[in-house]
Amino acid sequence: MQPTRSESAAQTQPEALTRRTALKLSAAVILGGSFGAGACAGLSRWGRSEPQAYRFFTGDEATLLIAMCEQIIPRDDAPGATDAGVIHYIDRQLCGPYTRHQATYRRGLDAMRQTCARVYQTRFEQLDFKRQTAALWLLETNQAPAEFWSGASQAGFFSLVIEHTRQGFYGSPRHGGNLNYASYRMLGLAYPNPIGQNRYAAARPG
């Protein structure tokens, strides 16, 4: 078994460990080993000065993906994907049930970065809203420069992001998305799920 990145971190900087992080770290090593997915060790960039906001994504990747998700479910008078914490839903699942999608995200986000650098000479998240929409339309119709997407489907990647954004926005809040029940409030769904008092109007007494 290959050592995870957190194992090597532990080897190089043992003196910096507090008891609590050491316990966390040993748990991460065990889990990292059993997942066989070193990218999700959780403390992979342990030792840096800035706080670690994501389990899988780098800060740059997250910034790009947040902007993409906000295009998919934009804020208006109701919260959008960013408000609902969709990025945290995706980030958490990539280190859980969606480890199989890790490579697709790493590669797709990189290809998206290169696509925007070529077509717009800037980062996706710095484009205005309309141009962001246009950039995603390129993806959806497989019209981004092919050289950045060799062997990967543009439309396929975008469809995956759409699906995961919907899950993060409309799914149960317990997975990191749908913060403050944003989508349930928007749709007028009670939460927590009412139990015991429900009746069809036709069956109500009186």
Binding site: Q71, I72, I73, P74, D76, A78, G80, Q93, G96, P97, T133, L136, S159, I162, T165, R166, Q167, Y170, G171, S172, R174, H175, S183, Y184, M186, L187, G188, L189, A190, N193, P194, I195, G196, N198, R199, Y200, A201, A202, A203
Partner: protein, 551 residues
């Protein structure tokens, strides 16, 4: 390692296996049930839409899991694909109770014509359409047993299309929700006969379990109060209480051991710790679902059955059927959503038979409550998938959606089949299901007809923006949750796998008790028919047992 012998080993604790376990244990036989999954527990799988069997984003909450249970599906172009259980691949739930834990629980009897399609309509070209070896009348007492012992709520006062019933339903029908009442009124104006959908749920307290509490998270979920009736909370507890039955969970059957005299002697399986075990028995009952039952038989090769148990005529795994699920959606001006499950309340079976120029037909019902993520996929073909237009659609239409949908009677054919893959194996090294072939083209024609009918009713109801759903241009694989037909029963051993009692023609102490037996799959959700057949198969076994036929 060989365990001490029991009278019966049952493979699979779902809709069929649970009933056989109860019937045989009550008759005094010693019974071991092997179930690959675990006992379901609401606390592990609560109201989380990402962990619903309907939208199993994070893997099937009620099994089988993605890591250990791959399957192979053959595409239209002949290419083969490994399919995860949560991505489809025609798999059913894998836990104690099987599909009956998380199902929608509609409790349909097939109609008398459903057992006699050839006699009613004649042959259909390029099909294996046949009459059942038994008719509705022979199954009626067992339907009744299922309705009373598992528990069904219903009222057929306004349904003139169902076959005759000796007794009424044991529980009153569920009331209709707003959508249901609007459909009912529209259908009546059109001269149709809408009625409340019969449900394997308690509308009132029954058999020691409480009445339904109407949660919106219903279909796809376990019921927190066990008002939804399944094998796990009705017949299996009765079986266990006899002291004659043991349910072994986490146990994956690999092979039925058939000796050189053509008798089933044992089931070879892997226990919860992955250890190989062999359970000898006087007789074996397989109730593992139409795809998995066929797989187990095909993987059970012996001297007399080199192509799998009971498969010397190449009929095991053939005639795989399911249901094309077809209908129409539209929007009502007023809000029709009600925060109360199950949501599916009105049924119309005027189109199941007697459609001029057509063979069979289908059922139409309004749908179970649609949760927000699932609703994202409920769209007209031209709707935006993302952006403000998507969000507006969700907001504007979520509580205004009217749906009328149902299963279409499929025409069986020989090419739609389960075989075992020559290469891919599961986590225990057992060759996996390989699904190939496609639906009969007639199914699409019937599907178009049913969608048109659904559309007409929604129009009469006043819905706008109507679009048809479930219509596919390609034939596609059949199977799915309503999988059936792979070990059909019949009187001729050359064209069927079992006799009319679910007993293999070629191995007289090997029985089947699941939808594999269905010669045709009706235009109805199949579970009550699976249950009725399981009671009938059990009756045949206990009758034979008294005469020591199987010893």
């Amino acid at each position: 390692m060989s365990l001490s012998k029991v009278n019966v080993v049952i493979v699979g604790a779902g809709a069929g296996g649970g009933i056989v376990a109860k019937e045989l244990a009550q008759a005094g036989l010693s019974v071991v049930v092997l179930e690959r999954g675990e006992w379901p527990h609401y606390d592990n799988n609560n109201d989380d839409e990402m962990n619903s069997q309907r939208t199993p984003c994070h893997g099937n909450p009620f099994g089988p899991d993605d890591k250990r249970h791959p399957r192979v599906a053959i595409g239209d172009d002949g290419s083969s694909h490994i399919v995860r259980p949560s991505e489809g691949g025609g798999i059913n739930a894998g836990c104690v109770g099987g599909g009956t834990v998380s199902y929608g629980a509609m409790a349909w009897r097939f109609m008398p014509q459903d057992f006699r399609l050839v006699s009613t309509y004649g042959e259909v070209k390029d099909s294996t359409l046949a009459d059942w070896p038994i008719g509705y009348d022979e199954l009626e007492p067992y339907y009744e047993k299922a309705e009373y012992e598992v528990g069904v709520s219903g009222d057929y006062t306004n349904n003139p299309n169902s076959g005759p019933r000796a007794k009424p339903f044991p529980m009153p029908a569920f009331p209709m929700n707003k959508e249901g009442r609007l459909i009912e009124e529209a259908a009546k104006r059109m001269g149709l006969h809408p009625f409340p959908v019969p449900m394997l749920r308690n509308s009132v307290p029954y058999n020691g379990r409480p009445a339904c509490i109407h949660m919106r998270s219903c279909v796809g979920f376990a019921c927190p109060v066990n008002a939804k009736a399944g094998s796990h909370n009705t017949v299996l507890p009765v079986a266990l209480a006899t002291g004659n039955c043991q349910v072994r969970t986490g146990c994956v059957a690999a092979e039925i051991v058939v000796d050189d005299h053509g008798r089933a002697r044992a089931v070879r399986y892997f226990d919860a710790n992955g250890r190989a075990q062999e359970q000898p028995a006087d007789l074996v009952v397989v109730s593992a679902s139409a795809t998995e039952t066929a797989r187990l038989l095909l993987n059970s090769k012996s001297k007399l059955f080199p192509n799998g148990a009971g498969n010397n005529n190449d009929w095991v795994g053939r005639n795989l059927q399911g249901h094309l699920y077809v209908g129409a959606n539209g929007f009502m001006e007023e809000e029709i959503y009600e925060e109360a499950g199950p949501g599916c309340t009105v049924g119309i079976s005027d189109f199941n038979h007697g459609n001029a120029g057509l063979v069979g037909g289908g059922l139409l019902c309004n749908e179970f409550i649609d949760l927000p993520y699932h609703f994202c996929h409920n769209r007209p073909p031209d709707a935006a998938r993302w952006g403000k237009a998507h969000k507006d659609f969700q907001r504007r239409h979520y509580k205004h959606l009217a749906r009328l949908i149902g299963p279409v009677q499929e025409i069986p054919n020989f090419s739609a089949r389960v075989s075992v893959d020559p290469v891919v194996k599961d986590a225990w090294g057992i060759p996996v299901c390989r699904l190939s072939g496609h639906r009969h083209p007639y199914d699409l024609q019937l599907g178009e007809f049913m969608a048109e009918k659904a559309e007409g009713i929604l129009k009469e109801m006043g819905a706008t923006g109507i679009w048809r759903t479930g219509i596919s241009r390609s034939l596609g694989l059949s199977g799915g949750q309503h999988q059936a037909g792979t070990c059909r029963m019949g009187n001729d051993p050359k064209t069927s796998v079992t006799n009319s009692h679910g007993q293999l023609h070629e191995i007289d102490n090997l029985f089947i008790a699941d939808a594999s037996l269905h010669v045709t799959n009706g235009g109805f959700n199949p579970v009550l028919t699976i249950m009725a057949l399981a009671f009938r198969v059990s009756a045949g076994i206990t009758a034979g047992w008294k005469g020591s036929q199987f010893k």
